[in-house]
């Protein structure tokens, strides 16, 4: 079917860019150092993009996702730094890390539940809810940190963001695991199926006996969980937590999701598309940096690439998809 070709186009773009960068600067771009550094940077943005994608599939958006990551990261950092006295035994450090991870997950869970509750049960539009919670989470983060960085973690914790299994960085492994889990959840579970159905037509989905409120609730909760995973990598990699860590990922993640072929109106999108899109962005930004191109030109290139792929998809899709396709996508909330 023609629909899969969206992802194929992306894959070609990715391979093409990778080859291009390798040709232009074989010594630097293909060096193990660069490949590893790309593999370390990509997962944070990748995890946030996956979370964003799941939300966009329902026709919603989560503007609070990066501050969910920031806030849960900060809470985790506070637990870590408060309990860390330096030079404690390995067992004590392990326990502390477990406590911190739990704190991060619980915080993110609370953030996600708040979003999910307001969107699905109260019925406020996602963009308003998450705009509000974005500011709320940012505010709480600032209040907790007074704007500064929280640091002083056990050394063992840094392994998550900077360690290797063999020659593969740990963050990319975490990302791979979550990408696979997300794909399975979306494509092989009743919940995932409901997410796509809801994204296409919330009313008909509700009329089919699906508990759409619960479905949407879990969508925001799952997005927050992915944000938490990103937060764990982030604070470990920087060895500290700060309000604005990751805040630039917000719009980038939306761009990546759309670049990855997800319909911004909901109902269509694949994990593999998002993953390739993250790869494209990473190759592009690292590659251009290495070649020594001005930072601003890098942004221009990214913007141009995004528009280019959108146009390409438009022309490919035009032939195969009928008009009036969007008619039934009269969006969210109607059933709630």
């Amino acid at each position: 079917m023609s629909r899969t070709s969206k992802e194929r186009v992306l894959l070609y773009v990715f391979v093409g860019l990778f080859a291009l960068m390798s040709l232009i600067s074989p010594n630097k771009f293909l060096s193990p150092g660069n490949l590893q550094s790309m593999a370390t940077q990509l997962p944070e943005l990748g995890l946030i993009s996956l979370g964003m994608m799941v939300v966009i599939l329902t026709g919603g958006i989560d503007l609070s996702i990066t501050y969910t990551a920031a806030l849960s990261g900060i809470v985790g950092a506070l637990v870590l730094s408060a309990g860390y006295t330096g030079g404690a035994g390995e067992a004590a450090a392990g326990l502390l890390i477990m406590k911190a991870l739990l704190a991060i997950l619980v915080t993110a869970g609370l953030c996600g539940s708040l979003n999910g509750f307001l969107v699905s049960y109260v019925g406020v539009s996602p963009i308003l809810v998450t705009l509000g919670t974005m500011t709320l989470f940012e505010g709480i983060s600032l209040w907790l940190t007074k704007g500064g960085a929280v640091s002083g973690f056990p050394e063992e914790f840094q392994w998550i963001g900077n360690g290797y299994v063999g020659f593969v960085p740990v963050p990319i492994l975490i990302f791979a695991v979550f990408a696979v889990i997300t794909a399975i959840l979306l494509e092989r579970t009743p919940w995932g199926r409901s997410v796509y159905m809801f994204g296409c037509n919330p009313v008909a989905t509700y009329f089919s006996g699906i508990n759409t409120k619960k479905t949407v609730m879990w969508v925001y909760l799952y997005a927050a969980l992915l944000a938490a995973a990103a937060a764990i990598i982030m604070i470990s990699r920087y060895n500290s937590a700060k309000v604005d860590y990751g805040s630039s990922y917000l719009l980038q993640s939306v761009a990546i999701v759309v670049l990855g072929g997800t319909d911004i109106a909901g109902g269509y999108g694949k994990v593999v598309g998002t993953v390739i899109a993250v790869g494209i962005i990473q190759v592009l930004s690292s590659g251009l940096n290495l070649i020594g191109i001005n930072r601003f030109i890098v942004d221009v290139t990214m913007g141009a690439l995004l528009i280019g792929v959108l146009l390409l998809n438009y022309f490919i899709g035009k032939g195969s998809l009928g008009k009036g396709v969007k008619k039934d996508a009269q969006k969210a909330n109607t059933a709630l």
């Binding site: 079917m1 399975i184 092989r188 579970t189 009743p190 199926r193 409901s194 796509y196 159905m197 296409c200 037509n201 009313v203 008909a204 989905t205 509700y206 009329f207 089919s208 006996g209 699906i210 508990n211 109902g267 269509y268 009928g322 008009k323 396709v325 008619k327 039934d328 996508a329």
Partner: protein, 513 residues
């Protein structure tokens, strides 16, 4: 009616990948006539309209003549400028704009205006509405008007840009009887001005009331054009389907024990004091004018609305139904009237649409969907209901109306419901598929299901139901057995009936209507 045609179409073909939607079709429309375009779903009516309105281009070799001169219609704007207006089923109006803006919008566009002239807009709107002899508040946003009034706005818009042919696609499907009458009066006044109407409808009775001539399409081919006098309903149907169809009364199944008991349920503003029973193996027809509260009662049984008072007793147990999920758990299925909006997820494949009600039961031990069981389930029901084409991965939007309805039926039959509520089961479905769905309902009743069928089409109600309830203004105003019911009795109740409690004590059954 003058004799020189306004519009002539000759040799119109349209080929889509793999399908010949139209094959050398012709059509001739005289000024001031009401021309009915009829055919089963998939006969090519919509494609022909799309070509006329510039949405689709015909295959090379087609000829379109207006006033005897060949014209090219390449986009909707061209059609407008040639004096052709289309009123689609959903009217294609702007719900958030005012009545005046909606009326004058088309005219502005077709004149290629760049700026909006508000005074002129109001004038145009006032003048057009006067011409039609209707009164509407110009400043009201369109969405605040009832459907019938919105339709009048759509007609006014067509008139505003001096349309000489107005194409109406199923214009009566969401109107009550009185509103249909009103629409017909307006159509008659338009034809006196020399405006031609191309009328597409499945309601044959209405066509015989309003149309002068009929053009019949079948499987994309032109069958013929006939004057009304040359036809009757039976002959028209046989021309449409190419075979004779009997719209016979279904044989009745024996009814079993009481399945559902509804005791004076009330929801303010929607329905009041509704009581009835439904037996196993029974088809209960629920009719009345549009807006009488039939759908609202059905939705209360499906958990879409919760009644404020009264009780619902299912197999002797009092139940509270607060969501479709709960209704489904109790064995209640509801097939809504809005097939495309509420019944189906059009952008998803047929398979997904069928299995959506069964997702939980299709889980394997790990909680994942079992692809093999899903495939079997989908195949089983596509086979059982003869859904064509038998392609589970086809998008629901690509199916014809009748097959779409079967998909909705399939997803609910898969849940093996005890009660099936079906709202306007054959709305916008062609004659052949109608009979098929009626037979299916009867077969389900024979297997012991209790069925509540809501319908505005009295022939359907009479042909299919075992017992008939009539609603009017949110009240139950009549009950008939199938033997005693006639169209007249039902209409009488639907228009003038008073609720049982307010009439002298004669009981519901013996009502003489």
């Amino acid at each position: 009616m003058s004799e020189k045609p306004f519009l002539q179409l000759k040799n119109i073909s349209k080929t889509f990948p793999g399908v010949k939607a139209l094959d050398k079709v012709q059509l001739e429309i005289l000024p001031g006539e009401v021309h009915a375009l009829v055919g089963e779903n998939g006969a090519g009516k919509s494609t022909l309209i799309k070509i006329l309105s510039g949405v689709e281009k015909p295959d090379p070799g087609a000829e379109i003549l207006i006033d005897g001169h060949p014209v090219n219609i390449r986009q909707p704007l061209d059609a407008n400028q040639q004096g052709i207006a289309v009123i689609y089923q959903d009217f294609s109006l702007f719900p958030n704009l005012t009545v005046a803006e909606n009326i004058s919008f088309g005219k502005e566009i077709s004149q290629g205006r760049r700026l909006v002239n508000w005074n002129e807009n109001r004038e145009t709107a006032t003048k057009t509405l006067e011409e039609l002899g209707i009164e509407l508040d110009l400043h009201l946003p369109l969405e605040r008007l009832p459907v019938a009034k919105q339709q009048l706005v759509a007609i006014a818009r067509a008139l505003a840009f001096k349309a000489r042919l107005i194409i109406m696609d199923e214009p009566t499907s969401s109107l009550s009887r009185g509103e249909v009458e009103n629409l017909f009066n307006i159509i008659r006044s338009l034809t006196q001005k020399g405006i031609a109407i191309l009328f597409v409808s499945h309601r044959l009775q209405e066509l015989f009331t309003i149309a002068d001539r009929f053009t019949v399409l079948r499987d994309g081919k032109y069958i013929g054009t006939y004057r009304k006098e040359e036809l009757n309903e039976e002959r028209l149907i046989s021309l449409m389907v190419g075979r004779k169809i009997d719209f016979v009364r279904q044989s009745r199944s024996s009814r079993g024990p009481v399945l559902l008991e509804v005791k004076s349920i009330t929801k303010k503003g929607h329905f009041k004091d509704i009581s009835f029973t439904l037996h196993r193996g029974e088809i209960l027809g629920l009719t009345g004018l549009v807006g009488a509260g039939r759908t609202e009662v059905a939705q209360a049984l499906f958990g879409l609305t919760v009644p404020e008072e009264g009780e619902i007793i299912l197999e002797g147990v009092k139940v509270n139904i607060r969501s479709p999920e709960e209704a489904m758990g109790l064995g209640i299925a509801y097939i809504p009237e809005g097939r495309q909006r509420e019944g189906l997820v059009l952008r998803q494949p047929v398979a997904q649409n069928i299995s959506v009600t069964m997702l939980r039961k299709l889980r394997s031990k790990l909680g994942l969907l079992d692809a093999e069981s899903e495939r079997r389930l989908v195949e089983e029901y596509m086979e059982a209901l003869d859904i064509r084409p038998r392609l589970p991965q086809m998008l629901a939007m690509q199916l014809s109306g009748g097959n779409q309805q079967k998909v909705v039926l399939a997803k609910w039959l898969a849940t093996r419901p005890k009660i099936l509520i079906i709202d306007e089961p054959t709305n916008g479905i062609d004659v052949g598929a109608k009979a098929e769905i009626h037979k299916l309902l009867r077969r389900l009743a024979e297997e012991g299901m209790g069925i509540i069928m809501i319908s505005s089409e009295l022939p359907e109600i009479l042909a299919v139901s075992d017992r008939i309830l009539v609603m009017r203004r949110g009240r139950l105003v009549g009950e008939f057995t199938s033997e005693e019911a006639t169209q007249e009795k039902i209409m009488n109740r639907a228009f003038m009936g008073a609720p049982a409690g307010l009439r002298p004590k004669r009981g519901l059954q013996g009502d003489r209507g």
